[in-house]
């Protein structure tokens, strides 16, 4: 094989590589990736407790982390296995057990304020990620049970430990709402 042939071969291969590279770069610059829709769909499967047990500051940041591949899908104890399964199905991955490093799943719970003990300090109000505690300084506080996600974030700020978590009250579920105006 003469040196010329080798030269031509290298030249052809290199030309092809450069052509493709330029074309791809140009294509990539033309087309904007749309990452948000995936984050939305992941976020929709998370329980929205906003509890931060996944060590992200809320459900949506965690969803963004999953979408970008920065976090695994096993970090959400409030969602439990059901959420992991749903995420695995959405992303076509194998379901995996929850990572115990992020806590263990608990039955659904809601916060309850012992109004005998509450001193009305209002420190729990800003802690609540979903505005489910009503109250004002030196007024009794109370938790809107229907809106509480049971995230436990109101526990640490309370100076008198008057907040406790109770199991979600059983709701009778009718299987078919009558269809009438």
């Amino acid at each position: 094989m003469n040196p010329d042939a080798v030269f031509v071969a290298v030249l052809v291969a290199a030309a092809l590589a450069v052509t493709l590279g330029v074309a791809l770069g140009w294509a990539a610059s033309l087309i904007e990736p749309d990452a948000d829709s995936l984050v939305e769909r992941i976020d929709a499967l998370l329980p929205q407790t906003q509890c931060g047990q996944c060590r992200y500051p809320g459900c949506r940041p965690y969803a963004a982390a999953i979408a970008s591949g920065a976090a695994e899908i096993d970090r959400c104890p409030p969602g439990g296995d059901a959420t992991v399964r749903a995420l695995a199905a959405l992303l076509d991955r194998s379901p995996r057990p929850l990572d115990p490093a992020f806590g263990a799943p608990k039955p659904a719970q809601v916060a309850w304020i012992d109004e005998e003990k509450c001193i009305g300090c209002a420190r729990c109000l800003p802690a609540c990620p979903v505005d489910a505690i009503v109250g004002a300084p030196r007024q009794m506080h109370t938790v809107i049970t229907a809106q509480c996600t049971g995230c436990e974030l109101c526990l640490p700020p309370c100076p008198v430990d008057c907040i406790e978590l109770r199991p979600v009250p059983a709701v009778s579920l009718r299987y078919r709402q009558p269809r009438a105006a």
Binding site: Q48, G58, D131, L173, R176, A181
Partner: protein, 494 residues
């Protein structure tokens, strides 16, 4: 006139009607005690307005409601309220709060009960309110408040009042008996309902296996001389009497899956409800009693009985000659959709059209069933009156696959029980679907709660950001002002 079309499938079942239907309706003497369940079958309860110890007369209002899915209750006895407590009742879950009234033997009628002077002078809205006050609810089995249906029919401009006299479920014949004995009442009630609904036509649908009822109703209509009133004979196919299916049979129109019968231009009422409306018009009487079929191989003399609401089922069975043989199930309703009750102390409800005391002769096929794997034979989808694929739904239900359940129409299932009936693998499909529906609803409630939480969280995040930005701006404007060279204070210092 014969029916025009039909719904997807259905099946002809053994009717078992001859047992109770031969004899005239028996009037039950006033019982010593009644227990009125606050939930009369619609799934929603009224609120008591009497206290324990209160004296009541026949027709006294004992529970009222503003809720559109519940109906008011009136005392069928004159006497005293002796208890308001949770006890056995013929409702979902088997227990409900009941108002227990003991008779004092008198038949004093409440002062509020007066015949309606001229129902034709009332506007549809006034009529509807009066019917709501009278606690008129669907006597066909659903117990749904009639007034609520009338209002929605008016809102949606329904043109046809369909009186359901199909009575398709085996064993039940109380409507048949009522149509034969009180055809004029049914027609009179129908005319009032038609006015209240703002409808122009009234069609009375009766299955072709009830020639006597058809003849009686046709006769009553002829006496009325109203051209917009007619009887339609429909094939005796189960579940012909299901509201949506009957509407399709009679009008050829399907009710949208996510809509109401009124969207198909129809309001459907039971013939017994119409008769109750007539009683209200002639005597001012709210619903105090109903006709109920007491039947089954476990009853000595099956018959139709007019009994006060709240009468203990044991009393009804005793009036039908008492138990016979070895009764295995006490079913409120027919053998396809009826609810098996744990105790015969439960009281009669407005929604209860049948008390079926079943022995092995009646329900042996189900008791002896051995569940085998589904072989996808498709018999279930061939009979499903809702056009579903029960065999696919069954797999989705086992896997708890919510999307598939929704898509395959687990909520379009009308619980008729036909898929169970024909399944060669004897799988209790209907119950699996009920269960799957419950879990689906629970999951959707959870998802809805999560969505609400997310929305509130996002609002809060935005609010905090805005507050922070505002503070920042305020801070900066203060600082900028502090650095203004022309500022007096600054100038003074320099």
């Amino acid at each position: 006139m014969a029916a025009r079309s039909t719904f997807p499938a259905g099946l002809v079942l053994d009717a078992h009607k001859q047992q109770a239907c031969g004899t005239p309706i028996v009037d039950l003497p006033l019982p010593r005690q009644v227990a009125l369940a606050l939930d009369q079958g619609s799934g929603y309860g009224a609120e008591p307005v009497v206290a324990v110890g209160a004296a009541v007369a026949m027709g006294t209002l004992v529970a009222r409601t503003d809720y559109p899915f519940a109906s008011a209750l009136h005392s069928p006895l004159a006497g005293t309220v002796v208890a308001i407590e949770t006890r056995a009742a013929a409702v979902e879950g088997g227990r409900s709060v009941c108002i227990v009234i003991e008779s004092n033997g008198s038949d004093r009628i409440d002062d509020s009960i007066r015949p309606v002077a001229d129902p034709d002078s009332l506007s549809p809205e006034q009529l509807t309110q009066r019917l709501r006050d009278a606690g008129i609810a669907g006597l066909g089995g659903a117990g749904f408040p009639t007034a609520t249906k009338l209002a929605s029919a008016r809102d949606r401009g329904a043109q046809t009042l369909l009186l359901n006299g199909a009575e398709c479920e085996p064993w039940i014949c109380c409507d048949d008996a009522l149509m034969r004995s009180a055809a004029d009442d049914v027609v009179r009630g129908a005319l009032i309902l038609r006015r209240a609904a703002g409808a122009v036509r009234c069609v009375i649908a009766i299955e072709d296996d009830k020639p006597a009822a058809i003849a009686a109703m046709t006769g009553a209509i002829e006496r009325q001389r109203d051209a917009a009133l007619k009887v339609v004979v429909v094939p005796a196919v189960y579940p012909q009497g299901a509201e949506r299916q009957l509407i399709t049979t009679v009008t050829g129109v399907e009710v949208p899956a996510d809509g109401l019968p009124a969207d198909a231009g129809v309001i459907c009422q039971n013939v017994a409800t119409a008769a109750a409306v007539a009683r209200w018009a002639t005597r001012g009487e709210p619903i105090l009693s109903r006709v109920v079929t007491v039947t089954g191989s476990g009853v000595a003399h099956p018959c139709n009985i007019r009994a006060p609401i709240g009468t203990a089922l044991a009393t009804l069975v005793a009036a039908a000659g008492g138990y016979r043989g070895t009764p295995l199930r006490l079913i409120a309703g027919g053998n396809m959709t009826g609810r098996a009750l744990a105790s015969d102390e439960a009281g009669l409800t407005k929604a209860m059209n049948c008390v079926l005391v079943a022995t092995r002769d009646d329900i042996g096929s189900r008791l002896g069933a051995v569940e085998l794997p589904c072989i996808r034979c498709g018999d279930c989808s061939n009979v499903c009156p809702a056009g579903l694929l029960p065999q696919q739904l069954y797999r989705a239900a086992l896997a708890d696959a919510h999307d598939a359940l929704r898509q395959l129409g687990v909520r379009d299932c009308i619980d008729c029980g036909l898929c169970d009936y024909v399944c060669p693998s004897q799988i209790p499909l209907t119950d699996r679907f009920r269960d799957a529906r419950r879990r689906l609803n629970a999951a959707e409630a959870t998802a809805q709660k999560a969505a609400d939480a997310r929305e509130r969280h996002e609002l809060r995040t935005r609010r905090l950001q805005e507050t922070a930005t505002a503070e920042q701006q305020a801070f900066e404007s203060v600082r900028n002002r502090a650095r203004q060279p022309g500022d007096d204070a600054a100038g003074g210092k320099s």
